[in-house]
């Protein structure tokens, strides 16, 4: 697992997400999919947004582009892109930004392309929307883009339909479409999850090349810490609708602070190392309708028990800088004087029983 060299930091953020809150009003109750998320992305950097499936990372990315559909709704927060709050913009302006200044690629490349239009037409459409380009010139550009993203024989491939492509090719087409207008920010939502391992590497290389060549900032959303290590400059770890840790990628792997992040890192299988069994985090992601009081990770947290913190199940910690540039949401690093009381032995025992 090679950890990627960091870009010089200190450049200003291109995107700042503050207190982003997106709820889904379902029949079963209000699903708090994204619940007060804060993070930022700098110009030209790759930010990894990592977490288990269902933690709200995809909803976060869709909220940035305001692509949330009913019954979902962005309830609160700011998404400041180059100084403007996207959530306050009129829809007409938002539409202009999508695909031009911020673009997005998705987890299922094949179903993300419209089955009834040729891939050439679908790329050309981006130019038609944002540049009123004439059809012929746009088609030439589309073919050029297909060549750029490594599609063999782009002239004839442009005339094919999505069902005739492999998953990897489809994702290349999606990338071509997303990069058509050289956006300032690319959101890649699990771009390789649905692909074969060998194809995954190629697609990641492509995204990295484009990031380095064009300076497009990238938000890479994934559940795979291995990907983060290879691709990201900085990482935000998400759990149950909240950011729980945010730091430079090197620091994360050397010295993760949050028990959840530590658990994630421990559960990565290491090539060559023989372990009796992989360390896994006990339990599952909490129900986002009926969240536990206090820290959302508390029911699964071993550290809480080891340190005998009872505040964790009562009051939620805040996302605070534990060290310079290293934010974490955990009572282990936050002053909890005045809150704390030792766990009652019986409770601790009862909790242990729940573990598998």
């Amino acid at each position: 697992m090679a950890i990627r060299k960091r870009k010089p930091n200190g450049s200003a953020p291109i995107l700042e997400v503050r207190n982003l809150t997106t709820y889904f009003y379902t029949e079963d109750g209000v699903v708090k999919a994204v619940d007060g998320v804060d993070f930022f992305v700098r110009h030209g950097e790759v930010l990894g947004l990592v977490g288990e499936s269902g933690c709200g990372k995809s909803i976060t990315s869709l909220s940035i582009l305001r692509l949330i559909d009913r019954p979902g709704e962005i309830v609160a927060g700011e998404v400041v892109f180059e100084g403007d709050d996207l959530l306050k913009k009129p829809m007409a302006d938002m539409v202009d930004i999508r695909g031009d200044r911020i673009s997005m690629i998705f987890q299922q490349p094949k179903s993300s392309l419209n089955p009834v239009f040729t891939i050439g037409d679908q790329i050309v459409e981006v130019f038609e929307i944002h540049e009123q380009a004439d059809k012929e010139a746009a088609w030439e550009k589309a073919v050029g883009l297909l060549r750029l993203v490594g599609i063999a024989d782009p002239e004839s491939k442009a005339h094919t339909y999505p069902h005739q492509l492999s998953g990897g090719q489809a994702q290349r087409v999606m990338i071509a479409m997303a990069m058509a207008l050289q956006p300032e920010l690319l959101i890649a939502d699990e771009p390789t999850t649905a692909l074969d391992v060998t194809i995954q590497a190629q697609i990641l290389d492509l995204i990295r090349e484009l990031n380095e060549a064009t300076g497009t900032a990238v938000i890479l959303i994934t559940h795979d810490l291995g990907l983060i290590a290879e691709m990201a400059d900085r990482v935000a770890v998400m759990y149950a609708g909240r950011i729980v840790e945010e730091v430079e990628v090197e620091t994360l792997f050397k010295q993760a602070l949050h028990p959840y992040t530590q658990g994630l890192i421990d559960s990565i299988p290491v090539l060559g190392a023989v372990k009796e069994r992989l360390n896994t985090i006990p339990g599952g992601v909490p129900n986002l309708i009926d969240l536990p009081p206090g820290c959302r990770f508390a029911p699964r947290c071993r550290a809480r028990e080891e340190y005998g913190l009872s505040i964790c199940t009562e009051v939620e910690p805040s996302l605070a800088e534990a060290k310079p540039g290293h934010k974490v949401r955990c009572w282990l690093y936050e002053d909890h004087s005045g809150h704390d009381a030792p766990l009652k032995p019986r409770e601790a025992k009862a909790r242990k029983k729940d573990r598998p």
């Binding site: 869709l62 692509l67 007409a92 202009d96 999508r98 673009s103 993300s112 419209n114």
Partner: protein
Amino acid sequence: MKQFAIRRILYTIPVLLGILVVTFVIARLIPGDPCTAALGERATQSACNAFNKRMGLDKPIYVQLGIYMADVLRGDFGNSIRFHRPVSTLLLEKLPVTIELGVIALLLATIIGIPAGILSAVRRNSTTDVVTMVAANVGVSMPVYWLGLMLQYLFAILLKDTFLWLEPGKRLSAGLSSIPFYKAWGLGISTTSALYPAVEFISNFFLFNSVITFDFVVLGDALKHLILPSLALSTIPMAIIARITRSSMLEVLSQDYIRTARAKGLVERMVVLKHALRNALLPVVTILGLQAGTLFAGAVLTESIFSLAGVGRSLFDAITGRDFPVIQGFTVVIAIGYVAVNLVVDISYAYIDPRIKLE
């Protein structure tokens, strides 16, 4: 693509054979002696023997089936017992009325049904949606003939003496007649000419005939007379189309590629009309063929209410009058037409959906 079309056409052959066998069996199962049905109750034994021999009824049943199939293929359905005319001539005369009515009704159903379905889906759970879907549910539950009668009462009686008054039936107002195009053009085709059935068939499409002869008075009058029956006939298909469009649109709108289209920066109107609609219409196209069946059932009822001498009405009269050759001939032709419509729909579906081409 061609392969698909060929395979689809080949597949209909056994179905067509099945239709012939079934109609043949039905015709043989009809209670009563064909001889007394044709010649009357007092036909003598020798006359009946002669009749049976002439009609091939003395031959083994499989030979009769063979003769029947050959006859149908030649377009010979025998003679109407009541009118003493070939069934095929009757068909050529009646079909245009029904086709005209059906096509106008289907057009109406599509033109209103599809936009209603789109609007309902896009504004899901809004008042528009609720009202449209209540109307659609009532629409599919509507007895066509009842609606027809109520429309007649409304437009002929309640709206009498207003400009909305409409005549409850017939194809044209009294005193007007549609002059066949071959007469208007002075082609001089006699009733014995081989072309006569064909030109008569075409000229019986009053709308088409009046357009090509520039007779706009007849065109307007014919259209006016089509309003009520086609409205009644279109209700059920319209409701079905609206419902299918809505559910298909809702399904498509939740697809990944719609999210992609939005992420590209398309405005919502274009997302719906360009990216969603084309996909959403695929299931609508498939049910259009099935609507031909609904339309036919409706045509039997509508024509009988609005005094239109179409296939449905004639078939019904034949049933009441026990005119078996007519029943058999009409049934075969309608079933074949139904199969053909569905064949065309399936093949055109393959043209709209690129995914089918590869298979």
